[in-house]
């Protein structure tokens, strides 16, 4: 009896999915993945923490207190203090703000540039396609760290410079994905019907082609967030990214290259490490889940 009831419930659910709108059915499939849902919630918590903790905390990121340096976690300083007596709890969330903020800005700019150039290359083809794709290949073959050292050496390290470097070397990936999709989509008969109907190029690109590649762009963006966080923290750790005293998770780990910090003051370097680990893992798993939800046939 209960089996039969279960079957009825299942039938109802399946029927519901077919009635949903496109994004509704994507979320329907996404919700079924427990791991992805868990990571989405965790990610939301981290983001909310980064937004609100620096607002409500009584400490500031730069107020030093020499009498109070290198304190282990306590009630007043939840994550302890660093070698200048700054509160690490607020620095952790403020660092997350900077790290996640940079990643978000970089990915958004990358996607805008990449999608526009990818669409143009794929839609018009021929010479313009060749030019854009050769530029992409040139950018993708740049040695990344070398390029960063050179740019930082010339212009100094600041957040805008870091964003510029990451976008400059990053948009080629999304441009190539979009171009590839457009190349196959524009051969479909509905695009031919558009031409027969005399629809303008702009409308054909933005109304017909772009919505069909948007799914891929969103997946790229989520996975891209993870990789940008990693690259930014790595550069900051090496001193090529965001300069202290502005905290990021990358430069907060930096003290760990002194042995005394590594062995006795775990509260200085463990939290930012966990922050990097959790956020990168969450973005990757959510991205994977989104990819499966958007197109069950699309596999790595």
């Amino acid at each position: 009896m209960s089996n039969a009831e279960n079957a009825v419930v299942k039938v109802k659910k399946v029927k519901k999915e077919s009635e949903l709108s496109y994004w509704g059915s994507v979320f329907f499939r996404f919700r079924k993945k427990k791991m992805s849902m868990f990571c989405l919630i965790l990610m939301t918590l981290i983001v909310l923490g980064c937004i609100f903790v620096p607002i409500i905390s009584p400490h500031t990121i730069t107020s030093t207190n020499v009498a109070n340096m290198n304190q282990p976690p306590s009630m007043t300083h939840i994550l302890g203090t660093d070698e200048l007596g700054r509160d690490l709890f607020i620095r952790f969330f403020h660092g997350g703000r900077i790290s996640l903020g940079i990643a978000l800005v970089v990915v958004v700019i990358e996607c805008v540039i990449g999608v526009i150039l990818g669409c143009i290359a794929g839609f018009y083809g021929k010479l313009i396609d060749t030019i854009i794709m050769r530029i992409c290949e040139i950018l993708m073959s740049f040695p990344f760290i070398m390029f960063c050292i050179t740019v930082v050496g010339i212009f100094g390290n600041s957040i805008p410079i870091l964003i510029f470097v990451l976008v400059f070397l990053g948009w080629a990936g999304i441009a190539r994905i979009v171009r590839g999709q457009i190349l196959s989509l524009r051969e479909l008969e509905y695009m031919e019907a558009c031409e027969a109907l005399g629809i303008s190029d702009i409308k054909r690109i933005f109304k017909h082609l772009l919505p069909n590649v948007l799914a891929y762009v969103i997946v790229f963006a989520t996975l891209g967030m993870a990789s940008v966080i990693l690259v930014e923290t790595a550069l900051s750790f090496l001193g090529l990214g965001v300069a202290p005293p502005t905290p990021t998770w990358g430069n907060m780990i930096q003290p760990a290259n002194q042995f005394i910090v590594l062995s006795t003051r775990w509260w200085i370097w463990v939290p930012p490490g966990v922050g990097i680990f959790l956020s990168v893992m969450c973005f990757n798993i959510v991205g994977d889940g989104l990819r499966d939800a958007i197109d069950p046939k699309m596999k790595r």
Binding site: S21, Y22, E189, Y190, A193, A196, G198, K207
Partner: protein, 328 residues
């Protein structure tokens, strides 16, 4: 018959280049359509038949300039389609439309029916605003046998036959005079085929449409067409009124094609002899010299291998491309 013609196609050619090597050097051409000539009168239907790869669809698409023609003329109501400037062509596109074979890939999955059908109306300012567009869309899809509430649905919520109705509605949205039906019913079930064909016929009577009906199904072509053209490897080998072609085929290829179509008349069973052709269809990249059909023709003579036969008008309105047309 050419005085009232809406469309005149003269010596239309479409060659696709074959490119090879790293530098994409052109090493040859696929002669998909190689000099075909015919007229379609206003309000009539021309059926175009032939086997796969003979250039039927290429003809239709080249006529609408969805493909760039290599040579020839397509005169639509006194205007040369192939020499028209782009801006004028865009306006002109409202007068001619196309319905595709596959009702699945010819509708954008991300747009509701309302936008699929109505988009071109706004583009060409046939309707002033979105509200009136919706009213017009509901009127047109009603004509095509869909309900008003279906205007907000997406293509994946429809069956194949309903999708083809959406395609027809999209084509009708811009008030065209001429529609190319490129295998428009081939992908559908037989029962749905008859519905769609009857719909096309009703719309023709109501709106005075002119059709180019491309198909490989002879019974469908016989039902809907006024004139019939038979294509073989890029050539229009026989062309004339439907009754003449079906009752009195002259070209050996037409005869073989007609004999291969199954007959449902029990009296005719056993009477008509099935003509079995030997060999394969030659490649349009390397077509035979002379008459394209000489490699498989049962009546082949030396002249067939040397010179391309002229397109001769054997009786008024019946053109045949064969050296031996009189004696067959």
């Amino acid at each position: 018959m050419s005085d009232t013609a809406l469309i005149r196609v003269k010596e239309l050619k479409k060659y696709f280049p074959i490119q090879a090597g790293v530098v994409r050097k052109t090493v040859g051409h696929v002669k998909a359509v190689d000099g075909i000539t015919f007229n379609i009168e206003r309000g009539k239907t021309m059926g175009l038949v032939g086997e796969s790869g003979c250039g039927k669809s290429t003809t239709g698409r080249t006529m609408l300039r969805l493909l760039k023609a290599t040579d020839g003329e397509v005169i639509f109501d006194g205007n040369d389609m192939l020499k028209m400037e782009k801006s004028k062509l865009r306006e002109f596109r409202t007068r001619m439309q196309i319905i595709f074979q596959d009702p699945y890939s010819s509708l954008n999955p991300r747009l509701p029916v309302k936008d699929i059908v109505g988009e071109a109306m706004l583009q060409h300012k046939i309707v002033p605003n979105k509200k009136e567009m919706k009213e017009r869309v509901i009127e047109i899809i009603g004509k095509c046998g869909l309900f008003p509430e279906q205007a907000l649905r997406y293509p994946h919520q429809f069956s194949g036959g309903q999708r083809q109705r959406i395609c027809i509605a999209r084509a009708l949205a811009v008030n065209p005079e001429f529609i190319v039906c490129d295998e428009a019913v081939s992908a559908l079930d037989v029962s749905i085929q008859s519905q769609i064909i009857n719909l096309l016929k009703d719309l023709q009577d109501e709106m005075g449409l002119t059709y180019l009906f491309i198909s490989h199904d002879l019974s469908v072509v016989k039902f809907i067409s006024d004139d019939v053209g038979v294509m073989y490897v890029g050539h229009l080998v026989e062309y004339g009124s439907r009754d003449k072609i079906f009752a009195n085929p002259i070209h050996p290829y037409t005869k073989a094609l007609l004999s291969a179509a199954p007959s449902f008349d029990p009296k005719a069973k056993g009477k008509s002899k099935r003509i079995v052709m030997e060999g394969d269809v030659p490649s349009p990249a390397n077509p035979p010299s002379g008459c394209r059909f000489h490699t498989r023709c049962p009546h082949v003579e030396p002249i067939c291998k040397e010179t391309v036969p002229e397109n001769r008008e054997l009786e008024p309105g019946h053109f045949v491309m064969c050296h031996k047309a009189e004696s067959l």
